[in-house]
């Protein structure tokens, strides 16, 4: 359906899309996931022919978007990040214009417009000027424009931004409904949304495709790292003591929970073991009440974090390793400290954009250079 080959987009010296390669098959919902500034919107803009790529090509149903733009664009409906609305038109006028622009034959036009209006529930505002509509309604008008004419491929850039929770649910419902007849590609940085709606996820970080698979498979990739979280009504020391006696536990970290006199622990089990029952029995024997016990699966969040954060970490570490080789042993300690610091910084910055992490890693390197002198 869509083939993206070796796509590169440079803005001056900044590499926004870095040799992207993927194929999109018909009849599925694809999710583009990535932190802010990862190149999602740029990729979508290139796929729809709004921007030209520096290198590489995009084939829509075998038609190159640059060489046969009209053939290719006919198959795509696109809702950009900011819906492209003319504020001085009414909703109906706007959709009329979009329909004409898309070359929908005159006799089918009215019917097609009414159909999409009903679909995204904007029939009751069709006589109002777009500038007087709320953000949610504007988003829906933009969506109506993308869906108009029912093109084979519908590309939505962050479709649920600015909508209230009820509208988000409605839009998701609509996307699922659309997927019965169309291929849908949507981008988002909201994991829950992608997870709920998409059949297939493409994770992009710094312009590179770092993973592409079904949500289930992505989770399974890291699935053996399940952890157990417990809360026990006992001092932290005692809790630690008790846990030590249980076989099959690889790692324990105990900390105070919010409540007074209650300790919380995160337990990592050895591979293939299930220690939940023995935890319960041991604590019961010691007459310590267990307040909570639950397994925490690796979620898509974790996969996302690992893929978008880790990518910069190993590289930063690798550089440090190389430097260590030429260092005197006495300096090793400071390197280790710097490393720890970096890890701490990394943890703090978890929700920040990947680019920020990059900077911090580079910054650390500079600091160390200064130390060497």
């Amino acid at each position: 359906m869509i083939e993206v080959r070796n796509l590169v987009k440079k803005y001056g010296n900044h590499l926004a899309v870095d040799h992207l390669d993927f194929t999109i098959e018909a009849g599925r919902i694809y999710g583009f996931l990535g932190p802010n500034g990862a190149g999602k919107s740029t990729t979508m803009n290139i796929m729809t022919g709004y921007l030209g790529a520096t290198e590489g090509e995009v084939l829509i149903d075998g038609h190159d978007i640059l060489k046969e733009p009209e053939e290719a664009k006919k198959r795509i409906g696109y809702l950009p990040e900011l819906p492209p609305l003319y504020m001085d038109m009414t909703v109906r006028e706007y959709l009329q214009f979009a329909a004409e622009l898309k070359g929908i034959p005159r006799q089918k036009r009215q019917e097609a417009i009414t159909e999409v209006e009903k679909m995204v529930k904007i029939k009751d505002v069709e006589r109002r000027l777009i500038k007087n509509l709320s953000k949610g309604y504007r988003q829906r008008v933009g969506l109506a424009q993308a869906v108009l004419g029912f093109p084979e491929i519908i590309i939505l850039d962050e479709p649920s931004v600015g909508l209230d929770p009820k509208q988000i649910i409605e839009i998701r419902e609509l996307i699922r409904q659309l997927a019965k007849r169309h291929t849908v590609i949507l981008s988002s940085h909201i994991l829950a949304e992608v997870r709920e709606v998409c059949d297939y996820i493409l994770i992009i970080s710094k312009g590179k495709l770092v993973a592409s698979d079904t949500p289930e498979n992505l989770e399974r990739m890291l699935g053996d790292a399940d952890t157990i979280e417990i809360e026990a009504k006992a001092p932290q020391a005692l809790t630690k003591e008790i846990l030590k006696t249980i076989p099959g536990i690889e790692q324990v970290s105990v900390k105070a929970s919010g409540e007074e006199g209650v300790a919380a622990a995160v337990i990592k089990e050895k591979k293939g073991e299930d220690v939940r029952e023995s935890i319960f029995r041991t604590f019961a024997e010691k007459d310590v009440p267990l307040l909570a016990l639950q397994t925490r699966h690796v979620s898509l969040e974790d996969v996302f974090m690992q893929l978008t954060q880790n990518e910069s970490l190993p590289e930063a570490l690798r550089r440090k390793d190389e430097r260590e080789k030429v260092k005197l042993p006495a300096e090793e300690e400071s390197t280790a400290d710097a490393l720890k610091e970096e890890e701490a910084a990394e943890e703090e910055k978890v929700p920040a954009a990947a680019e920020a992490v990059w900077n911090s890693a580079d910054g650390e390197g500079d600091e160390k250079n200064a130390g060497d002198l």
Partner: protein, 288 residues
């Protein structure tokens, strides 16, 4: 193309710019008409029109300024560029809408010669030709304005730059009289123009060898020519740059009743060049 044309035309009259432009042009022409034709009894309407030329300089930027800059600012160009319509058609649709807005007051102008005729002698041929050329000149200005609008995101910048360029073109004759007419002055002017052209080539290609070679070869040819045939350089600058005084074609008709067909061809070529440049400017933005 038709969809864009219709939308643009509608938006000109919904946003009042179209109405303001037409009203503005009609009021000023009306005042000149009163003064020259009705009060003073001069039988040529074309002369009145040449007075309204200054109104064009303010009015045309008004209708061209938002054509592409606003689309870019509001990101509505994403709709146009991702639709199955070629860029040339998008630009033409918009341009024809502007031309239509400019045509409306000119159609109304066609009544004035008849009013003159009802009062006595009228020179209908000259008057109608001058109205047609006046309209064509408006289209030339609109093409320039559209191109400048496609270069920027700000309507204000588009307005001011268009206004500035049109004003310079209007005053071009006066500016030319300040240029030297001697052969040495002509040579200096040619060398300056050559250097500007070479600088542009260098900016576009970033190839220092190519631009350097062009500069040296060009300078050598012009200097050799200067020594071989000095008379060639006399009045050269005023002759060549005088071609840029676009309004002259119109004022020749309105003031002297001389129709210069090459001038009309010049108008059409300038329109074609600027429409083409607009397409290229938008294309370039997609790639940078």
């Amino acid at each position: 193309m038709l969809a864009i044309y219709k939308r643009e035309l509608k938006s000109y009259f919904q946003s009042m710019t179209g109405c303001v432009f037409i009203a503005f042009l009609l009021v000023f022409t009306g005042i000149y008409f009163m003064a020259y034709n009705l009060t003073a009894g001069y039988p040529y309407f074309s002369y009145t029109l040449s007075g309204s030329l200054i109104v064009f300089i303010v009015g045309i930027p008004l209708i061209t300024m938002r054509s592409f800059s606003e689309e870019r600012k509001n990101k509505t160009d994403q709709l146009l560029l991702t639709a199955p319509v070629s860029l040339g058609k998008v630009v033409m649709g918009k341009y024809l809408a502007m031309a239509t807005v400019i045509a409306i007051p000119n159609v109304i102008f066609c009544l004035y010669p008849l009013i003159i005729k009802s009062q006595g002698t009228a020179y209908l041929e000259v008057d109608y030709i001058s109205i047609a050329v006046f309209f064509l000149l408006g289209c030339v200005y609109a093409a320039i304005g559209m191109f400048l609008s496609s270069l920027t995101e700000s309507q204000i910048i588009a307005f001011i730059s268009t206004f500035g360029i049109l004003l310079v073109l209007y005053l071009w004759d006066g500016l030319l009289s300040m240029l030297p007419s001697s052969a040495a002055g002509g040579l200096a002017g040619v060398l300056i123009l050559l250097t500007i052209a070479v600088f542009y080539i260098w900016r576009m290609t970033e190839n220092i060898v190519l631009s350097g070679a062009v500069e040296i070869a060009g300078a050598a040819v012009s200097i050799v020519l200067y020594f071989v045939k000095q008379s060639l350089y006399e009045n050269l600058l005023t002759d060549v740059l005088g071609k840029l005084a676009l309004a002259n074609v119109f004022t020749d008709i309105s003031n002297n009743s001389i129709v210069d067909v090459t001038g009309i061809v010049l108008y059409l070529s300038v329109i074609a060049v600027f429409v083409f440049l607009t397409v290229q400017a938008i294309q370039k933005r997609r790639w940078s």
